[in-house]
């Protein structure tokens, strides 16, 4: 039986899916030098509705939270992903934005971002891969998968995650996961690929009560 430990301590929340995203966005927020954004890992997509309801019921949520951003992967259908977050917000009695990156409501003001962004399918891993598309190691990553294909070996089910793993295997300290790689500075935050997500987080940070 787990023991709950997450208290709401800040007025600005960034709601992410799981531990990996928590570490990744923690590194990004640190890079941006933002002090008042607290990351809340809410769990997988399957339980988003129930878990968001619990977050809204949490001690101090009503009293303290003035802004909340929610980040979710688009997967195969960005519109469906946005709709699923909207439904969960509504079920939790919170304001529902009309479109991604468009804030809605007051105390808290809610904003949704669907990754990779710009209405594309995919996930956080795709955003990271886009940021390193000009890295020399990316050629080797693709060659690795071509080799698998030529040998008639089976492909991983999630190619984005697999590409990230192979790419990270090329770094000086291999074996890091996506979030740990962010902490290690392996993702180039200044790349244009991260521009929208940085803008999104800064926008949450600047909302006043």
């Amino acid at each position: 039986m787990g023991v709950a430990t997450i208290d709401i301590t800040e007025s600005h929340l960034l709601v992410v899916e799981g531990k990996e995203e928590e570490v990744f966005f923690g590194a990004l927020i640190k890079h941006l030098g933002l002090q008042k954004v607290q990351i809340i890992p809410i769990g997988g997509k399957k339980n988003l509705r129930q878990n968001l309801k619990i977050l809204a019921k949490s001690p101090q949520f009503k009293n303290a939270v003035v802004a909340m951003g929610i980040v979710r992967d688009a997967d195969d259908n960005p519109a469906a992903a946005f709709q699923s977050v909207s439904d969960a917000l509504q079920a939790a009695g919170l304001s529902v934005p009309e479109s991604p990156s468009m804030p809605a409501g007051n105390t808290p003001k809610i904003t949704i971002m669907i990754l990779p962004e710009g209405g594309a399918s995919g996930m956080l891993e795709d955003l990271c891969l886009k940021a390193v598309e000009n890295d020399n190691a990316r050629i080797c990553v693709e060659q690795y998968f071509q080799c698998l294909q030529q040998k008639g070996l089976s492909f991983p089910r999630n190619m984005s995650k697999a590409r990230v793993q192979v790419f990270l295997a090329s770094r000086s300290e291999s074996g890091k996961r996506l979030g740990e790689a962010a902490e290690a500075g392996y993702w180039p935050w200044d790349n244009q690929a991260f521009a929208e997500v940085k803008k999104f987080i800064k926008q949450i940070d600047t909302i006043e009560s």
Binding site: M1, V3, G43, N47, K53, I54, K57
Partner: protein, 366 residues
């Protein structure tokens, strides 16, 4: 069993509604948010006709002395029950049950001279019981009288008023209130239930042939326990147990957890069709037995049709209750967290799905 309970102008509550009540209700929340006050409100409401229960509620908090100044009461016994000490507003305590309907109880400080005149007809010329043993209750040299009116109205159309009168003669309640409609027992956080009281309650269960419920509950913790009996040693009755030694062992020697669980079970068994109110239920219990405790309490509360309201600061206690009731046929349990917001103190309820999500997300609930 109450399905909802509403409080107006009582202690720290301007207005609070506690909904979705189940057989077992845990009350959580930070310090000084009104958890104990909620139990006190329930206790007074359960007493139905007896304004003196307010004094008992104060005693639970260790408040037994009345301040006075040169014969002028600066504070009555019941000032602290009124929200923001504002005696101009009525306290209202309202329960709801779909079968028995609404039951309203109000408390009102009688201060207008015409109202006091009306009450004077009830005042007994005899010294009150409280006056005879008025230790700790200083009396004024002036003729000063404080009156608290308790009114009730139930779903069956019954209504009435009782008065607690406090003057130089002491305290008296008039008319003499009848027995409450159902029992309510309050287990206070700061005082352990006396062993003699537990022994008496065990005897009460024995009389109706139900002492087995305690034995079965305690066997959750101590499987060696075969038999329980009240033994009088040195004139003091105490529950003893047979755990296979060559003699009966006093229950307190089997540990604090056994004594605490026994007190809880005995209170439930002695409050059939009524209520048990427990402040800081986890006191004296190791986290490893909390699930077993909830299983035992749930079963006995169901058998005796007793509704439980208990406060806690312990997350382990909350999660253990969730686990125990999830394994039970019916999830007859709710967590209610009291929280101070801009609009006042409000209650947030957690059902089974909510608590499952709490475990998944590790989000705080207390």
């Amino acid at each position: 069993m109450y399905q909802s309970f509403k409080i107006k102008n009582f202690r720290c509550f301007h207005e609070l509604t506690l909904g979705d009540l189940k057989r077992v209700n845990l009350i959580a929340g930070v310090n000084n948010v009104g958890k104990t006050a909620l139990l006190e409100a329930l206790f007074i409401h359960c007493g139905a006709y007896n304004p003196e229960l307010t004094l008992r509620a104060n005693t639970f908090r260790g408040i037994e002395i009345v301040k006075f100044d040169l014969g002028r009461w600066v504070e009555t016994l019941w000032d602290s029950f009124f929200n923001e000490f504002d005696l101009s507003k009525k306290i209202e305590l309202i329960s709801n049950n779909e079968k028995t309907g609404q039951r309203l109880l109000y408390l009102k400080a009688v201060r207008q001279s015409e109202e006091l005149e009306k009450v004077s007809q009830f005042i007994s010329p005899r010294p009150s019981r409280s006056e005879e043993k008025s230790e700790g209750i200083p009396l004024s040299s002036q003729v000063t009288r404080q009156v608290l009116e308790l009114g009730y109205e139930d779903g069956k159309g019954q209504r009435g008023s009782y008065y607690m009168i406090f003057d130089q003669k002491g305290i008296q309640s008039q008319p003499i209130p009848p027995s409450p409609p159902f029992p309510a027992l309050f287990l206070v956080a700061r005082v352990r239930v006396l062993h003699t009281e537990d022994a008496e309650r065990f005897g009460n269960l024995d009389i109706i042939g139900r002492q087995d419920v305690l034995l079965k509950a305690l066997q959750f913790i101590e499987p060696r326990l075969r038999r329980l009996a009240v033994v009088v040693a040195g004139g003091v009755p105490m529950i003893h147990g047979d755990i296979g030694l060559n003699r009966m062992v006093p229950l307190p020697l089997m540990g604090e957890g056994m004594v605490r669980l026994a007190s809880l079970i005995l209170a439930i068994g002695n409050a059939q069709n009524g209520f048990v109110l427990v402040d800081e239920i986890e006191n004296g219990l190791h986290h490893s037995i909390l699930s077993k405790m909830w299983r035992a309490l749930g079963e006995v509360a169901e058998q005796f049709n007793t509704q439980i309201f208990a406060t806690t600061h312990s997350l382990e206690c909350i999660l253990a209750a969730h686990q125990a009731f999830s394994e039970h046929e019916e999830y007859d349990f709710r967590l209610h967290r009291l929280e101070r917001t801009r609009e006042g103190i409000m209650a947030v309820n957690y059902d089974q799905e909510d608590l499952a999500a709490v475990i998944e997300t590790s989000l705080e609930v207390r």
